[in-house]
């Protein structure tokens, strides 16, 4: 009884403008992608966290466990076998969560568009940001980060409850 009241109260408070924009501000600087490599774009993804490009300065820290992460980075092609795993990983992540689709393959198949074994990420996941390129340069990844941060702060995400 008491718990339920507290929960309703905190939800109502979180919907208040000041608190919710504070929450969005915090979320935008703590985007943690889960360690889930779907294809070869992973090599450029790794480069964007390393000294030359250093995406960590935007609060973007690759982490190991799905339960502690809020970003799923689709790195390139998603095959049918990988799509099942991607869905499970996405469902395990806590809200609010965001999906980045990196590379031409993740947009519409790219060079593999008529392959028998690939899945378009937008068919299985709600994608927030697409990053074109084959592979995208690390600068493009950083740009996508700042764009997503902007989107979160302005509340234009496909998750209306956040």
């Amino acid at each position: 009884m008491f718990d339920a009241v507290i929960r309703r109260l905190s939800r109502a408070l979180a919907r208040q403008k000041i608190l919710s924009s504070l929450k969005d501000w915090g979320t935008s600087f703590s985007l943690w992608p889960v360690h889930f490599t779907t294809a070869c774009c992973g090599s450029e993804f790794a480069a964007s966290f390393c000294p030359r490009y250093d995406a960590e300065r935007y609060g973007f820290l690759p982490f190991v466990g799905t339960r502690q992460c809020n970003v799923l980075f689709i790195e390139g092609t998603v095959t049918k076998k990988m799509a099942e795993a991607a869905k499970i990983v996405y469902e395990q992540m806590p809200e609010p969560k965001f999906v980045f689709a990196m590379g031409a393959c993740a947009i519409d198949g790219g060079i593999f568009w008529n392959s028998y074994n690939i899945v378009r990420p937008h068919e299985i996941l709600p994608v927030d940001v697409y990053i074109p390129g084959c592979p995208p340069r690390p600068e493009a990844i950083l740009k996508s980060l700042t764009m997503e941060q902007e989107k979160i702060r302005k509340k234009v995400t496909p998750h209306p409850e956040n």
């Binding site: 360690h35 779907t38 294809a39 000294p51 795993a85």
Partner: protein, 386 residues
């Protein structure tokens, strides 16, 4: 042993120690009884798609199988295609090809070493290796215009000539890398923690390595001096002076040392190439005559594809090429039926051959050795799954 006493452990595909695959380990307490890598997570049907594309369109396609190591894959495919077409690249183009291949070998080995360091908990090594990889990516970018996917090597030659200030910058990067290798030695390679994690772990002995068909640095770490660059030299490797780096121990640490030795060899090879690269054209005369304006091409020193390339029609037949990619021997097989598309295209990638090493190297090891051995094999799943 009965079923109840062993535990089947599934690692991956979402796991920092697994990459794009699932590792199935049968454990008895902390000891691995049986190890089965479950691959196919990145199978994208490169060979089948190749049958629907023209010969020049396949060049970017084969590169996508191994993104950290594109130049060698590109070179292997183009060598097979040139054998089918019956053309040879001019000498300068061959020097440029090997220049790019060796630059790529350095940054690919650094990539592998960085991931290996990260897997056994040395984040410094990850950051250093990835940071020091950038000068070489930058060099390759000067030469080709792209960071990783170069598509630089085309039938009959290469796409661009050496940029003007390339030589000085390359020499600077090489001496920087030599300095850094000494730092690596102190912080990672002979660090007590690394020695404790890697010495005597994941041993593949000489006989096993030859029997199961491991290739590349993993084979050379087991004491077999097998290198396609020496055994079946292609392009200008006969003119270059280099050694095959061999270690006898066959453990994870030996594989790391072989990679470092190969970086040193590549550095010396790039120095030799820059010293004696001859003048001349970068595209075979047969195609150069078809480039719209020959004088303009010579001024700008980059090749616009002649329209003929879109409809290359090799005569009926089949061709094979073997190159030493940075992860090992890479094999391309191309069958032509006289049309613009290949009839059959087959790649045997080094990672696929090295996959079986997991089963042998990890038997009887502890659970915590899985990342140490995985990293030391420098396995790249998209390359194995194609």
């Amino acid at each position: 042993m009965s079923e109840e006493q062993t535990l089947e452990l599934l690692i991956g595909p979402q796991h920092p120690g697994s990459g794009h695959m699932r590792l199935v380990a049968e454990m008895d307490g902390d000891v691995i009884l049986n190890f089965e890598p479950n691959i196919g997570y990145v199978h994208r049907a490169v060979e089948k798609i190749a049958e629907t594309k023209t010969y020049v369109q396949i060049i970017p396609l084969v590169e996508r199988t191994s993104l950290p190591d594109t130049a060698n894959h590109n070179l292997g495919y183009v060598l097979a295609l040139e054998r089918l077409l019956g053309i040879d690249a001019p000498l300068r183009a061959q020097y440029l090809r090997i220049l790019l291949a060796e630059i790529n070998r350095i940054h690919s080995h650094l990539y592998g070493m960085g991931i290996h360091g990260n897997m056994i908990g040395s984040t410094t090594m990850l950051m250093w290796a990835f940071g020091d990889r950038e000068p070489f990516i930058e060099l390759a970018q000067r030469l080709t215009g792209a960071r990783l996917s170069y598509s630089y090597i085309i039938p009959g030659g290469v796409r661009r000539d050496l940029p003007q200030d390339f030589r000085n910058d390359a020499l600077k990067a090489l001496s920087y890398m030599e300095r850094r290798l000494k730092d690596y030695d102190r912080i990672f390679v002979h660090n007590p923690v690394t020695l404790a994690r890697l010495k005597g772990v994941g041993v593949i002995n000489r006989i096993d390595a030859a029997r199961i068909g491991v290739v590349g640095p993993n084979l050379r770490a087991s004491g077999i001096a097998y290198d396609v660059r020496k055994i079946e030299p292609y392009c200008i490797y006969p003119d270059l002076d280099f050694e095959v780096v061999v270690r006898d121990e066959g453990d994870a640490h030996a594989r790391l040392l072989v990679r470092i030795g190969e970086i040193e060899q590549s550095i010396s090879m790039i120095r030799q190439i820059l010293g004696k690269i001859p003048d001349g054209s970068i595209l075979a005369d047969r195609y150069l005559d078809l480039v719209p304006s020959r004088t303009r091409f010579e001024k700008r020193s980059s090749v616009k594809f002649p329209a003929l390339f879109s409809g290359l029609k090799p005569s009926k037949g089949e061709a094979v090429s073997r190159v030493e990619a940075s992860r090992g021997e890479l094999f391309h097989y191309l069958v032509s039926d006289g049309s613009t598309h290949p009839y059959r295209f087959r790649i045997v990638t080094p990672s696929f051959k090295n996959l079986i090493a997991f089963k042998h190297a990890l038997l009887g090891q502890k659970l915590a050795d899985i990342p140490a051995v995985y990293g030391s094999l420098d396995y790249f799943p998209p390359e194995a799954d194609r």
